[in-house]
Symmetry: C2
Subunit: 313 residues, 2 copies
């Protein structure tokens, strides 16, 4: 299936893998790229050396296009931004802000730029800065979330910009992909579904949490500090939510409470102190599978639903 | 376009109008039914006499099927539930709970029952009780909201039950309708879009708020008291949110603070003390139109998108 997204990125299927911190490494990214989607390495809060090593590792594992997700609030954002230009990675996606100041440097390095946006205002801003497409992500996604949902956000972003729009958040199968196309998107980004890919190196405890989740198993914490995240309900999230609701509990201590919780979930599989980020479609994910099987399944479902129709995607 | 929903309700188009308290009266309901959708009268917290009068008024305005939305937390719920059975209204939708105890009485009166659900658990429960279909409503909708979004909720409900599923929340045009079909729904419920119908008797100030809203103009308040609602950001919602975040402010006073705010918005157009409930697609709604034009536009957009495809809806 060819869409604006497959043509833009030179990939086979209009599927981008979400850039999940502590999870999306060279192993997962190369597997998704080899499956014909776009694999993404998460630069999270890591320094340039660590990210460069993952990029080089990814290149030994695939000769297909892949990307790096740059978290704009990272303390190492400047050095990572320069490094990806030096490395000429095919694609950069960005999160948590406005990447306009890096656009010129990345374009000169031949990089395709797809910022994640949660509002029409940011979509218009990055379009003016010259990015190639936007990823409109609804708040049903895992990890950092905005207020708008995919169903409401995607058509409003489509109406607000002329560049291609990719839909993210709440998409776990071919039905979600076709819904995204109906809303005007030309592709999807999926995180949670790839979290349980065989090639994903996240802890077994994390995969188990996702595989056993129900529809109502996730919740949002962190609104009070201005950076809400969606995670699977656990001892940790319940404790956090309780402290968050207590306005006598100081912001600084609340901030401290969260430190290290992602690593503890992703690397240590610590079910007591870990924060297991996942989207609302965790309830639809019930099998660990190779990344290629996930991609093929989603595409087959989508193609079956769309049989006979000429979609302008 | 025939779907399971149009066949179930004997209507022309698979569109249900949302049961908006203080807004959805005989005027709006009859206009939507005359347009070929299913108009809904909101029973809100009103007593049986008031609702009966609206039903009878509606019958003078249309000979097409229409429905009543029964808010299960209403103090008058028992008498209203009996009255709709006496009146043999064609359709009942329910909100804010589990209507199982009324199902037998309503079925005996020949009423089609479509509860609004926000989780797969409630969907399965009402299916077992014998309802005809469910309306799976995502939290991007206006008014009372659940946690799950439409994109994540609808396919999970579709997988959980055998009865037809209607999608609600975040649907404002034909793109949303086709997205709903892709997710497995057989129809949509729309509230916000009908709020600005010519036949909607809500205050002009309310319509103006919706017409001038942007994508990020709504917010959710009331989570602390366990009944979150989505409304347009105003002086009132900001004040409420501030009190809500202050855990030293007592629940009882917070509850009191909200009393009368819906009526003040819908009837008085009080922009200082009113609570203007609306969904996230308010940003897509930019014109006051006759209900029939809204229905025809949505259907034309959806049919154009689906041209040539054989959808099993």
């Amino acid at each position: 299936m060819q869409t604006k997204l497959t043509r833009l990125l030179g990939i086979e299927h209009p599927i981008i893998q979400g850039g999940m911190a502590w999870i999306a490494d060279a192993s997962l990214a190369s597997a998704v790229s080899n499956a014909g989607g776009l694999g993404i390495i998460s630069a999270m809060n890591a320094n340039a050396d660590w990210v460069r090593e993952e990029i080089r590792k990814c290149r030994t594992l695939t000769d297909k296009p892949f990307g790096v997700n740059i978290m704009l609030m990272s303390p190492h954002v400047e050095e990572v931004a320069k490094m990806v230009a030096e490395e000429k990675v095919p694609v950069v996606t960005t999160g948590a802000g406005n990447p306009s100041r890096f656009v010129k440097m990345w374009k000169e390095a031949g990089i395709k730029i797809l910022p994640v946006v949660a509002s029409t205002a940011l979509a218009k801003m990055v379009e003016r800065a010259g990015v190639d497409a936007v990823i409109a992500e609804g708040g049903e996604s895992g990890g950092h979330v905005g207020d708008l949902t995919t169903m409401a956000l995607v058509p409003q972003v489509v109406d607000a910009v002329k560049i291609p729009v990719v839909a993210a958040g709440g998409i776990g199968d071919g039905r979600g992909m076709v819904a995204a196309f109906a809303l005007g998107a030309c592709g999807v980004q999926m995180g949670t579904r790839f979290l349980v890919a065989n090639e994903c190196t996240v802890s077994d405890a994390y995969k188990k949490k996702v595989l056993s989740a129900k529809d109502i198993s996730t919740m949002v914490t962190g609104r009070r500090l201005g950076h809400p995240v969606r995670a699977i309900k656990t001892t940790y999230t319940n404790a956090y939510a309780k402290l968050e609701a207590d306005s006598n509990y100081p912001d600084e201590k609340l901030e401290e409470f969260g430190v290290g919780s992602l690593r503890k979930a992703a690397k240590d599989g610590n079910t007591e102190e870990g924060c297991f980020l996942a989207g609302q479609i965790a309830g639809m994910v019930s099998r660990e599978q190779p990344a290629k099987e996930i991609v093929d399944e989603v595409m087959a479902e989508a193609e079956k639903l769309m049989e006979g129709v000429k979609w302008d995607v």
